[in-house]
Symmetry: D2
Subunit: 343 residues, 4 copies
């Protein structure tokens, strides 16, 4: 961390300030220019809050040199993390696809879609049992009944299940029943929940908040990892911008950005990003070309009658042909090279 003191700050004040920093176990280098005095802090600065430093009257600016995350940081863990899920895994170079409906609606529906997406090449089944809805009057999911139907679909297809947890209340049930616990964008900074997730060892699919920076996403992963659970998969699902044609703006530059800063896998959700089914194909292809570790795609056999998000679901046939193209694009995709990009 580098601290620039205000011009004309007295030596006494600077010395007093330095002493306080040293008391926190840091080595402080000072550099007196003709106008600004600059302090360089050496040591573990992750526990130092830059905003607290900024609160000091004599501080002009603070620059954080080292990222504030440790366990999620590629600097201390240069190889890609691979998250084990059942017999499969996510991360480490090969493309993994999670597919299924927005929400579980019936046994027939979820089993039939599970079979379709498996056949097309998906490795995991998604499906919402508990649904986060902007309106209290909208369909809130089949809840526990939905969870049972997901388990039936898993039994029939062998596909591990990925489904969203809405808070701490159902955590134990999810640990028991589910293969990957999905944390939605709106809960990315639900710190009470993140702390609980750190205590289990179930893989967590952590979605980027609607307006979360990449650093904040990594800090939320750090919460879980600092608690002891290092099985975190990150997910970019579109960010909120001023553009209204699409529901959100998919930020594919998050893939290389995260690859450089972190060893965690990063997957892309093209369905929620655009909010329109016909954009799923171009955005999926783009995500794979840009080096995503995986995709999570909404597939529905009857989108027009889906209980939620039908407008962004593709049909099984479309999904099949998409999967075929993705396998080809994957061969030429970008991949992170630590020697080329370095630190």
């Amino acid at each position: 961390m580098i601290i620039v003191m205000k011009p004309n700050t007295s030596k006494n004040i600077i010395e007093d300030f330095i002493e306080r920093l040293q008391n926190k176990g840091l080595i402080v280098h000072t550099d007196f220019g003709d106008k600004y005095c600059i302090l360089g802090l050496i040591g573990d600065t992750t526990a130092i809050d830059p905003e607290q430093i900024q609160a000091h009257d004599a501080v002009e600016k603070v620059m954080v040199v080292q990222e504030p995350f440790k366990k999620a940081n590629r600097l201390f863990h240069p190889e890609d993390s691979v998250i084990k899920i059942g017999n499969g895994s996510i991360g480490g170079g090969k493309l993994s696809v999670i597919a299924g409906p927005c929400s579980v609606e019936s046994e027939d529906q979820i089993v039939s879609i599970a079979q379709d997406v498996k056949q097309a090449g998906a490795s995991f089944l998604r499906g919402g049992a508990f649904k986060p809805r902007t309106s209290p009057y909208s369909f809130q999911g089949m809840e526990l009944e939905g969870l049972e139907l997901l388990k039936i679909a898993r039994e029939k297809t062998g596909l591990p299940i990925v489904t969203e947890l809405m808070g701490t209340k159902m955590l134990d049930k999810f640990v028991e029943d589910v293969d990957v616990i999905q944390i939605g964008a709106r809960n990315m900074q639900n710190f009470e929940l993140l702390k609980e997730l750190g205590k289990i060892d179930k893989p967590i699919l952590l979605k980027r908040g609607l307006s979360a920076t990449i650093e904040e996403l990594l800090m939320s992963a750090e919460y879980i990892m600092a608690g002891g659970n290092e099985n975190v998969i990150l997910c970019e699902r579109g960010i909120r911008t001023y553009e209204t044609y699409t529901r959100n703006t998919l930020d594919l530059s998050a893939i290389p950005a995260i690859k450089r800063q972190s060893h965690l896998p990063i997957i892309i959700d093209p369905s929620h990003a655009a909010g329109m089914w016909w954009m799923v194909e171009p955005l999926s292809k783009a995500a794979v070309a840009a080096g995503a570790d995986g995709l999570i795609i909404e597939v529905h056999n009857d989108p027009a009658n889906a209980k939620c998000d039908g407008q962004q679901s593709i049909k099984p046939k479309k999904f099949k042909s998409l999967m075929d193209s993705l396998k080809e694009i994957e061969k030429f995709k970008w991949s992170f090279d630590i020697n080329e990009i370095g630190f």
Copy 2:
């Protein structure tokens, strides 16, 4: 709700679609132009999901005419709501000020600040016991001990206490100990929590999410109200934009916007918005002039040593002089006039 069908949609498809809407209890008016067929839905459309409608192949566009919130809607409750808190209240025209430190640090600190802000004219004491922090390595608050100290400060000053709840885990404790439960920006769409808040009758201070629209803020209030708790106070605290000079951009147009759409009180948090203590004065004055029902301001007797957010806290003396000006500005503030602005 108005639905525009795609050009060249066959009559059969349109008729089939209309029947489905009628089955949901709606009256459907149709208007066949030369190119587009337009459907107008009459009845309670709050349970109809516009995105589900949009999923239909033959639908070109959907326009929502009526806001999707009912209990929070001024249309059905023209008078301002006044939320009772102890002997005091928030809403209904007079200015209420909540003040105190970012976090409770010691008995001396919280009691002394409480006395200072009371003397300056504050009606409520704020202070964090449980703190939402971006980093797991930052100070997380004094937790239960902090809550006890807040109660001591309340006893010594008579000021009702406002403090943040981080999830459902501590809800019962907060219902017992706290006067107003604050829900932070990051939990505005923690739906599991919102549902629980609907079951109690404690006043809720609901902060606008970092990138929540005004409609989404009102929909989160609706969640709480739909559950049975109508004691909701809204709070604008700055939204995330591209500007980096300030931490967030305070959106004061949210005051008139909310006043027109809802009967709920709306207060402003100038401290978190800008993230700089010297902006608290201009933004507080602006908020009062624009018709805010109240302010929530961070006051600290030693900002440079505060455990969090010192850079955005003002000192008690500054707070006192600010309060004096605010009382004068209040006399000329904007206030909503239903006859002038109407619906």
Copy 3:
């Protein structure tokens, strides 16, 4: 255009309002519900300003059904436009790559880079002679001398040249010397300039403004086309969001969005979007996979000593290997199918 009148508006006022609309040559359908009266306007509504309609006291909401652009609209021109440039072209399915340095610095530099990018497969040479710089103290380009050097590079390689025009002052010179006139993001709504561009027939590369919506980009294209010049190539180059890791956020969903709404070619600028050279490869691959008609890439033989934007330039060797991959990805890219996506 659909207009919803406020509830309880008197019939007299509505009739008077309808008459005014009819006087503008429109047919007005009316639909009286129990609460809202809805007007549907039939005819050419592009000349009707929705904000002016909204200004009427009795109007609740306005919904625009038809896009406000005509000449750029795919609805009236279903086939892709192909823009001819010298012996080459942009648009219509095949990938076109424009490459070269941020700014022209010397004859050696521009000729050598031109030869390198041509050999790697680029079809056009880019290079700034007049540079838009945020600071008046930054290098402003070699100006007319730079233009001469570009012409030499064209002569030596046969590559048509693409370079930025900063205003109307140099327009005649550019018409004479340049193959494609580039209009930068900051000038996308420089309407005086757009009107002049409509009077010539030189191809225009129109970059999306930093915070322009897709519709606004198409409206700026419409300005040029309405003036008589239909040779417009659109360019997405990253939009401004709250994320600070990248300079801008590349919006690849703009590709399918524009393909559906317009017949104009759309190319991608991965260099300016991210502002970091090592993101050019993943973003270029993603752009091609998502169906872009072309790319504009900054290539420099000595980025660390470039006079501008060196941090986002790749070296010729990197460019060559990238071009090889792009040709493979192109085979599996998304392409717009009017029968599948329709209107």
Copy 4:
């Protein structure tokens, strides 16, 4: 400027890099920590491009300590600038109000509104003769005829006129006829135009771009000032965010932010910000309370029939009562105190 070199950069590379910086006339302080080498640059760094520095392979991060603007910087010009306009002025503590219609429509209209706003206390008359419109099919203003009508209104009321210049074409005419040349948000970074404005001495009202940072606004002012014209008045008119209820989000924190960084006057445009007439009153009151040097307000005697922006115009009677309140609020407004806020 502070430069952090990448860890493990060889001493040779660092020394070579330092030499290059020294060759630009800078003194370079170095500080070798255990991991990072840090360089502090002393001297005039405004001509150094941080992005160019960033392009060097061995550079990890760059922090700019001093703002990149000089002539607009309060650091070198501590007193408020007061811009003289005819017998009046803008800046320096007293509130100045510019009022009038969006566009000039007829002699009757502009003269009558001019008389009304003068009587209510406005000091300047606004009115568009050349209009920037998103659509080429919208009313583009009365152009030269409109300019003549503004001159008639000035003659009849004595109010200096403020009107928008769209490019360099009409510059000479505006210098001759107009009192303040307004540069719209879309032209804030039209650098060709800014350079021409630097050569005249007419006061310039420079509007902040739709997504311009405060620093970029000040850099555009610097362009004009660096050319020789120091008569610049800044204007905040709402920035583009994700919120759709209002047209733009008025950023009132720009007032204190600009006051701290610059000596130039800053005025607020509440009409364009919200895009709704009934928000003009609360936002105007807020702007004055927050310390704005002035306001620019759209007033129209017949908004429903205005040729543009009627929905955001208030009537003369409303304007009069607003002016009366503003005079009271002004007495308690925030004002910048260099001793309190310092640098």
